[in-house]
Structures are given as structure tokens and as C-alpha cells.
């Protein structure tokens, strides 16, 4: 891939997530489409997109309640993702799982837990199976900083290190101020460690801190880590830092500034005040667009075109998902027991 192609691919990947999730907020106005609270990946797109760009299709990914972005980043079809979230037959899980559980077994996301920490040991298990089978498939498990409050995190870390499993623990610390993103880390109200990265290090696990708003750096760093995992140097740990998007507080996401406009990349004063600083300093998509333009890998026109294409793609996907029928209720009786 040329650096231009690469720039475009990363931008397109992130935009696909952003546009899909903005669309969800619009859909959620109809309470019959999204009936309860749900979690968006807005602001973290660079992490999932960058990390998954370093993976093969047969590598495994695990995610959380905040899964939409990871499924798209691993190659998920927006149509089937939206259909799942609105509970339709063409969803990846036939509408059984919904927003909490979006998964896509055919592209390496076999099971998504919405329990805090629920995916961690399962991910260690797929890594264990790969090691037993002398396969070089790796497993990446994405999870939030909150998982470090659950005991299962420590048990999994310990076994992964004792058994030297080919797994990347990709921790997304998504409440870091822009100023602190590059720093060592600071204590939080819910974890006693001076820096969260002290914890995996105490287990002897090699740990990398990344600015999770920088898609290119994430992609390169994870590329290197994945190569090490394939070479048997696992487990490895990443702390990836992002800054919370103002629409993402509380249980029901809002769009305080409306849909993101790609032009804000150059017109940083344009967004409403509530989101202005966030888009300027912490929006991974606008940061990347700006960087690509500056570096000359993508022109403004190219960027605008990619955005338009993605918006069209998502609109089509949403229309198809809305046209998908609700699942036949009796089907639940068939699949309860394997």
C-alpha cells in the first residue's frame, strides 16, 4: 500500500464508525428501534481502526458493551451491524444479541460480552488454543479502564503471563484529558495505582502507552506488537488513551454539535462550544484528516470525497437494515441449547 492509500484506508475506516454511530443516534429517536441504553465508540475510532489494521482476518478480536467500532474495524458489514442493533433478522446474530453483544463470528469476533471483564478470560482461551495448535493467530482483546477494577482482569493477566499466551491486552482508557494523554498517567477515583500501566508491569508484562487518538501511531505500534506476538513474545499490554466525547456522558448518547462536519478539520471554530475543544484536540478523525492534508497524503478534496462515500454507504446500510424484518420469535427455542 502506498502511504496515500494507507491514509485513505485509515480515514475511511474511522469515518465508517463515526457515520454509523451518528446514524444510530438519529435512529434512536424512534424508541421502537433502539429500546434501551447503548454505548458509542465516538472519539475512540483511531484505536480500533488502527489496531485492527494490523490484524489478519483470521486473528481474533474481543470487545465489550462498547463494541460497534471494533466490529466495523475488524471488517464488519455496516448493514448487518445496524440490523443487529435495531434487532432485525439480518443482524449478525439474527437480532438475538443487539447493541450489547454485536459480534461477527465469520470475521474473528466470535462472542461479545457486555459484562465488565467478561471477555478477558475467553480471549485468553482463544490465545491458548492458538498456542496449543501451533498457529500464529493472535488474539486482541479491547477493554475499558473500568475492567481493571474487576478481579477477573488480574486472574487473566496472571495466567496469560504464566502460560505466555499470544494475546494483546488493549486497554482503552477513555477519560483522559488531552493534556494527560501523553503523560505517565495519574490516579483515578476508581483505581489506586499511580499509573494504570504499573499494574501489568508488576505482572512482568511488557506495556506500551499510546495516544489512542492518533490512528497512524496506533497502527504502527500495534503492528509491531502483533509481530512480536506471532513470534511468541506474548502476552503484551497497551494502554490507549482517549478523551471522552461530550455526547458520551450518561446512558443515552447525544449529538450536542450535530453530525461531525469533515470541514471542521480546517475550521476549528465552527462547532458549537460544547464540542468545539473536543473536535479540535481530541477527535481522532479530524486530527488525522488535518495531518494527512498537511503531509500531503490526502487532499481536502480527497478527504471530502471519502467522507461523502462513507455517508452514502452508511445511509444505504441503514436503509437496508430498516427493511430487514424482525426475527421470528419461535427461533429462540431452537438455539438455546447447542
Amino acid at each position: 500500500m502506498t502511504s496515500n492509500e494507507r491514509a485513505a484506508t485509515l480515514l475511511r475506516g474511522m469515518l465508517r464508525i463515526r457515520r454509523l454511530e451518528e446514524k444510530l443516534i438519529h435512529l434512536a429517536e424512534d424508541k421502537t428501534l433502539i429500546r434501551a441504553h447503548y454505548h458509542l465508540y465516538v472519539g475512540q475510532e483511531a484505536a480500533g481502526t488502527g489496531a485492527c489494521s494490523a490484524l489478519r482476518r483470521d486473528d481474533l478480536v474481543f470487545t465489550t458493551h462498547r463494541n460497534h467500532g471494533h466490529v466495523i474495524a475488524k471488517g464488519g458489514d455496516p448493514f448487518r451491524v445496524i440490523a443487529e442493533i435495531i434487532g432485525r433478522r439480518d443482524g449478525y446474530l439474527g437480532g438475538r444479541g443487539g447493541t450489547f453483544h454485536v459480534a461477527a463470528p465469520e470475521i474473528g469476533i466470535p462472542h461479545t460480552s457486555a459484562i465488565v471483564g467478561g471477555s478477558l478470560p475467553i480471549a485468553a482461551g482463544t490465545a491458548w488454543a492458538a498456542k496449543l495448535g501451533r498457529s500464529d493467530r493472535v488474539t486482541v482483546v479491547f477493554f475499558g479502564d473500568g475492567v481493571m477494577e474487576e478481579g477477573v482482569f488480574y486472574e487473566t493477566l496472571n495466567i496469560a503471563q504464566l502460560w505466555r499466551l499470544p494475546i494483546l491486552f488493549y486497554m482503552e482508557n477513555n477519560s483522559v484529558t488531552p493534556e494527560e494523554r501523553p503523560g505517565r498517567g495519574s490516579p483515578t477515583s476508581s483505581h489506586a495505582a499511580k499509573a494504570l500501566s504499573d499494574i501489568p508491569r508488576a505482572f512482568g508484562i511488557d506495556t506500551t502507552i499510546l495516544d489512542g487518538t492518533r490512528v497512524d501511531r496506533v497502527a504502527r505500534a500495534v503492528g509491531g506488537l502483533v509481530a512480536r506476538l506471532r513470534a511468541g513474545e506474548g502476552p503484551l499490554f497497551v494502554e490507549s488513551r482517549t478523551t471522552r466525547w461530550p455526547g458520551n456522558y450518561g446512558s443515552f448518547p447525544r449529538l450536542p454539535g450535530g453530525d461531525t462536519e469533515i470541514g471542521w478539520a480546517w475550521d476549528q471554530a465552527a462547532p458549537v462550544e460544547e464540542v468545539r475543544e473536543w473536535h479540535a484536540k481530541s477527535d481522532p478523525i479530524l486530527l488525522w484528516a488535518r495531518e494527512c492534508e498537511r503531509a500531503g497524503t490526502l487532499s481536502r478534496d480527497a478527504i471530502v470525497t471519502i467522507d461523502r462515500e462513507v455517508r452514502e454507504e452508511i445511509e444505504k446500510a441503514a436503509a437496508a437494515a430498516l427493511a430487514s424484518p424482525p426475527p421470528d420469535p419461535r427461533a429462540v427455542l431452537e438455539n438455546a441449547y447447542a
Partner: protein
């Protein structure tokens, strides 16, 4: 004097306020009793007023439940608000292996009066991991009390009893879909001691035994049954599964001879089956028809509304069961 009518969520707020006021040492661990509902804000004033007696722990269910147990052992009671019932699975080692046994294991010398509050059941789009119904598990963990209020008054009286008067640990299960339901609730403080069922509606043709949201559904079913089929059912609201008020159930079954048991837990091996078993072994001689069970169809709870409705122990399924036991 006209009865005062408030919502279930308001009754929670009133109950919490009352216990915080009465026992100045009482602590809350978490305080979002009303979940992700329209009534979420009802707790705001209390969270403000009692901020210094509310702890917001990390996402560490097993640890903070154990902390509440330890505090209770040395005389500081707490109410632990755990949010979704499935999260309490993380704490089962503390709730079942520890809290439940403290009293018995000490030959009656030590008490652990903690209230574990959870939101159970099919809340709407909760899917497999946010729709759990562990009431049957906790009931079959000897040493634990299990309360399941059906009305705003139940809620206020049961929480107060559990938090201030009981010497034992209690799992109190609430249902999100009850939050915006209204009912008469006395203004002042009052308690509903455990083990006292109430007959919410009288009838001669059949008995519906239920707790929590299934009482409300049973009452709706009773209207339909009477209006459309001339069937008069009696509705027994258990209020607590442990202790269970066998006498009130038996009295009603003796009168009607026909029983529907219903609970929003898995139909095959959940609370409805247990209750049916109790009726079959203790009240067999009164029975004139098979006991009918109405529970959650025993599958992991699905997300899509069509499927979710299908597995829910809805009013129509209670109506159908009652018609079957009555035979018309």
C-alpha cells in the same frame, strides 16, 4: 381521607430517605436504585442530601459486597445497590458462601444484616446479560432472605424492614418495569415484616401465586379473566420468597383448588416450578387440577422485541394458564 398514591420509584426514594434518617450509621454503597428508567432522577435529592453516607465503589462487586458484610458484622448496616441482577453473579461467593452462613456458622452469635438490592428480569432490550432472574438461586442458598416487592407500598415496607429490623442478609429484587407503576403508600414510616403474603384480589375460581411484576401482570390477567370469561381469580402476592408464607397460599388453594404459579425466572427450573412443587407436596389434597406454571421460556433472553415478548411471562400467558386450570 383519600389514600396517597405515588409511584414505585417514588416509594423507593421515600424508603431510602426514611432509613437513612432513622439509622444515622446506615450506609449506602451505590444509590441508583431506579436504574436506567424514566424515574432515574428520583434519587437525585437523596444522593445530594446523604452524599457523605453514600460510597461509590469501583466496579468490584465481590469486594464491595464483602465489605458490606464485614461492616454489618461489626454493627454498621448497609444497603448495597448493585444495579442489574446479573452483576450480582460476580459477588455470589460473598453473598452465598459468606453472608448467608455468618449467622448459622457462628452458632447464632454473629449477624450480617446487609441488603443487596438488584434489578432483575426482562427490562426491555437487556438481552442475555441484562435480563437475569436469580431469585431462585438466592432462595435456595440457605441463610439468605429474598424479598420481591410488587407494589409501591411493598417496596417501602419491605426495604425498611430489611434495612433496619432484620438481623439477616436479604437479597431484594426489583423490576425496572415496575418503576412507573402507582399505588397507595402511607406517608409515615412503616414496615412489612418478612413472610407475610397479601391477597391482592379475592376470587373463588383459581389462585394465582406470584411476586413482584408477576403480581401486576396477574392482576391485569384477573381483569381480563373476569371480564371476558367470567373467571374470578384470587391473586396472592408473596412479597418474600424466603421466608415463604405457606399458610396464605394454602388458605387460598383450599378455597379455589386450582393454581397458577408465575414468576419471571426460567420456567423449567425456576421459581414457578419450585412453588408448584410446594403446592403439590403441601396442598395436594386441595388441588383439583394440574398446577400451571408461567415463567420465562427457558432460553437465554433475546434482544429483539418480537423474541423478547415471546419469552416473557405476559398477561396473555397467565390468562391462558388460568383458563386451562379452570377449564373454560
Amino acid at each position: 381521607m383519600p389514600e396517597r398514591v405515588i409511584s414505585f420509584a417514588q416509594a423507593i426514594a421515600e424508603a431510602v430517605e426514611g432509613i437513612m434518617e432513622e439509622d444515622p450509621r446506615l450506609q449506602l454503597i451505590g444509590a441508583r436504585f431506579t436504574g436506567h428508567t424514566k424515574s432515574a432522577r428520583v434519587m437525585d435529592p437523596i444522593m445530594e442530601r446523604y452524599a457523605d453516607r453514600i460510597s461509590w465503589p469501583p466496579i468490584s462487586e465481590i469486594a464491595y459486597c464483602g465489605i458490606a458484610i464485614g461492616a454489618a458484622i461489626t454493627g454498621v448496616r448497609s444497603v448495597v445497590e448493585m444495579s442489574t441482577a446479573t452483576f450480582s453473579y460476580e459477588a455470589i461467593p460473598q453473598i452465598v458462601n459468606e453472608a448467608a452462613i455468618v449467622h448459622a456458622n457462628s452458632d447464632g452469635r454473629v449477624c450480617a444484616p446487609v441488603v443487596f438490592h438488584v434489578l432483575y428480569g426482562i427490562r426491555g432490550a437487556g438481552a442475555a446479560q441484562h435480563s437475569g432472574s436469580p431469585q431462585g438461586w438466592y432462595w435456595s442458598a440457605p441463610g439468605l432472605q429474598v424479598a420481591m416487592p410488587a407494589t409501591p407500598a411493598d417496596m417501602k415496607g419491605l426495604l425498611r424492614y430489611a434495612a433496619l429490623r432484620s438481623s439477616g442478609p436479604t437479597v431484594l429484587l426489583d423490576h425496572q418495569r415496575l418503576m412507573e407503576g402507582f399505588g397507595p403508600v402511607p406517608e409515615g414510616p412503616f414496615e412489612i415484616p418478612f413472610g407475610q403474603a397479601s391477597v391482592e384480589r379475592e376470587g373463588d375460581d383459581a389462585t394465582i401465586v406470584a411476586a413482584s411484576i408477576q403480581v401486576q401482570r396477574a392482576l391485569e390477567a384477573a381483569d381480563v379473566l373476569y371480564r371476558d370469561h367470567g373467571i374470578a381469580v384470587e391473586v396472592v402476592n408473596l412479597r418474600t420468597l424466603q421466608p415463604l408464607d405457606h399458610a396464605t397460599i394454602a388458605r387460598s388453594v383450599k378455597k379455589t383448588g386450582r393454581v397458577v404459579v408465575t414468576d419471571e425466572s426460567p420456567e423449567d427450573a425456576g421459581v414457578a416450578s419450585v412453588l408448584a412443587g410446594i403446592v403439590a407436596s403441601e396442598m395436594f389434597d386441595s388441588l383439583r387440577a394440574p398446577v400451571k406454571r408461567v415463567g420465562v421460556l427457558p432460553v437465554p433472553v433475546p434482544y429483539a422485541k418480537t423474541m423478547e415478548d415471546f419469552v416473557t411471562p405476559r398477561v396473555e400467558r397467565i390468562v391462558a394458564a388460568a383458563r386451562e386450570v379452570v377449564g373454560r
